[in-house]
Symmetry: C2
Subunit: 210 residues, 2 copies
């Protein structure tokens, strides 16, 4: 039987490159699953139920809340967004490490509910580089960019609530580091209490009197 997987939350400033890192780690390694969010917003062209999102009616979503079927949820611009527990649990039980990309407040809620969750904070190497990347994307006007930068200045106070700080300077290096952080976590003593108990029992054959 495979060991249970680890739930990993990846957060970071808008412009830190989280999306690209996620795509690459899913592409480069085969032991990860991305958590799929549920939402009440309408599907956009090309989006498929169960791929980008699990699309739900408001009633369905509120039932999921009532039945404690979401690890966390939030409302954003009039729509619900949340992380369905069943899908995550099923992947973890299959031994997959499940990656969940959410913002900091959601991350704190999940960590409270599931203390084994591994929290990784992704950041560019500097404030200037963060600004360069947001400007370089060319997809947002300066007002939006400034709002994002102002938000980063608030979000930085969550940094020390995380387990790992991942500096996204070189993409290849960053993806490799994230993979190694997750894999190394599998060897942490706190995640291996069953194995330690096994060794304690197993070594008893060598106790005095045998």
């Amino acid at each position: 039987m495979a060991d249970r997987g680890i739930l990993i939350i990846v957060s970071g400033f808008s412009g830190a490159g989280k999306g690209t890192v996620m795509k690459r780690i899913m592409n480069d390694y085969n032991n990860y699953a991305l958590s799929i969010s549920a939402t009440t917003r309408n599907p956009r062209a090309g989006e498929e139920n169960g791929r980008e999102y699990f699309f739900k009616t408001v009633e369905e979503f509120e039932n999921m809340i009532a039945n404690d079927q979401l690890i966390e949820y939030a409302q954003y611009v009039g729509n619900y967004y949340g992380t369905p527990k069943e899908y995550v649990e099923s992947m973890l039980n299959q031994g997959k490490d499940v990656i969940l990309e959410i913002e900091m407040q959601g991350a704190m809620k999940v960590k409270e509910k599931m203390p084994d969750t591994l929290l990784v904070f992704v950041t560019p190497p500097s404030a200037q580089e963060l600004k360069n990347r947001l400007v370089g994307r060319g997809t947002e006007d300066m007002d939006t960019i400034n709002a994002r930068l102002k938000r980063a200045n608030e979000e930085v106070y969550y940094m020390d609530k995380y387990d790992y700080l991942l500096i996204n300077d070189d993409l290849d290096q960053c993806v490799k580091e994230l993979h190694e952080i997750i894999q190394s976590e599998h060897s942490r003593v706190s995640r291996n209490i069953n194995k330690i108990n096994f060794f304690r029992e197993d070594l008893k054959i060598f106790s005095e009197g045998e």
Copy 2:
């Protein structure tokens, strides 16, 4: 300036293969330094001062104790053995990760003095495999082997005082895992408080009013 290195203690049962893992990690990667112990025992043929050990007189060693120049020390078969602080500090300050192979009681003492120390416990995959390896070495009689196995049954109770449990099943894999555990530790938030403070300062340029 290089970041400060990490002090890593590797412990494990006699027969776990620690020595081989140490040799291989020093050989395969160039960012590690092995801590060199000080001892009052006489050099054996081929041993060089500053390579296998720092050889000291009893008076010199007791002066080192009195001047708090040892991270830890113990007496064994009438001789002193200890870890000189100066050498370790100098390597850490150069950004080297310093590996120290000592037994569990010494490890606990170091962790108390230097809480940043990373503790790694190396074990074969099972009690039977531990016995096979000790017998397979063919260097000890059965009484000695049984004494070592009995000791392992006592030492296993230190396992959950360590940070990582490293199962030495396949040597290549074990060396790679140890390397990745140490490198990943460099990204732990608790080891990056200076960097977090840098980001907090750096991002202030985006605070309101700018």
